[in-house]
């Protein structure tokens, strides 16, 4: 399979995940706001986080959709997935209780399953970055070679 195709598939998976998650949160905004306010570590900043998360997810989706901004989108996706995975790890390790704050069908996952799920998507983003970078280098080298030949 071509590297480009793999990057496209990874981008498609990430777009689906982020857009679905963002819209699920926005469609049931009151519920999301309430659940986030129950979270022990972000209670104080939850009024801000409740907007920042879905908006970031939409921005990343748009960046992944446009080919020119895809690499930046992959970086942002990796950073966000790493942040989510870290948050779940801290919750599992140090929180006295676990509130539910997942949008859509993800609410059906346990926190441990969610941790693995996020880890897999963080890994996919990282793989996408590596492949996209190698693709860019390949194109640059090919272009430079062409210039030398002419």
């Amino acid at each position: 399979m071509k590297k480009n195709t793999i990057v496209e598939i990874i981008s498609a998976l990430l777009v689906f995940l982020f857009l679905y998650a963002a819209l699920s949160k926005l469609l049931e905004f009151d519920r999301f706001k309430y659940q986030l306010s129950q979270s022990p570590f972000i209670t104080r900043i939850s009024p801000m986080v409740v907007w920042v998360i879905p908006i970031s997810e939409i921005f990343i989706s748009v960046a992944l959709l446009v080919r020119r901004t895809r690499l930046a989108g992959l970086h942002a996706a990796f950073f966000l997935m790493l942040l989510f995975t870290g948050y779940i790890f801290i919750m599992l390790r140090y929180s006295p209780y676990l509130p539910c704050s997942c949008g859509g069908v993800l609410a059906g996952l346990s926190w441990k399953q969610h941790f693995v799920f996020n880890g897999v998507f963080a890994g996919l983003s990282l793989a996408g970055i590596a492949l996209q970078n190698s693709n860019r280098d390949h194109i640059k080298n090919a272009f430079a070679g062409k210039k030398l030949n002419t």
């Binding site: 857009l19 679905y20 469609l27 659940q35 959709l65 006295p96 209780y97 509130p99 059906g108 399953q113």
Partner: protein, 79 residues
């Protein structure tokens, strides 16, 4: 190029459709520890927020309800 862009676009379209379709059926089966529901003892169809609001108010410490399909997802209430 055209084909590859459409793969990501189709994923975006599916995400939008799934999110809206999911909103229609957001009721999940919960087992409430303290308040068995009449008819089907203990199990009832409510959203996580509804369970939390109706049966487990406040900042949580003790298990109050859990998702029937996924025992790991719990709602807790104060001691």
């Amino acid at each position: 190029m055209k084909r590859s862009i459409s793969v990501v676009s189709i994923a975006a379209l599916f995400a939008v459709l799934s999110a809206f379709a999911g909103k229609v059926d957001r009721q999940i089966q919960w087992w409430n520890v303290d308040h068995p529901y009449q008819g089907t003892p203990g199990i009832y169809q409510l959203s996580a927020t509804q369970v939390k609001m109706f049966y487990c108010p406040g900042a949580n410490n003790v298990e109050c309800a859990y998702l029937v399909n996924s025992m790991g997802t719990t709602i807790k209430k104060p001691q």
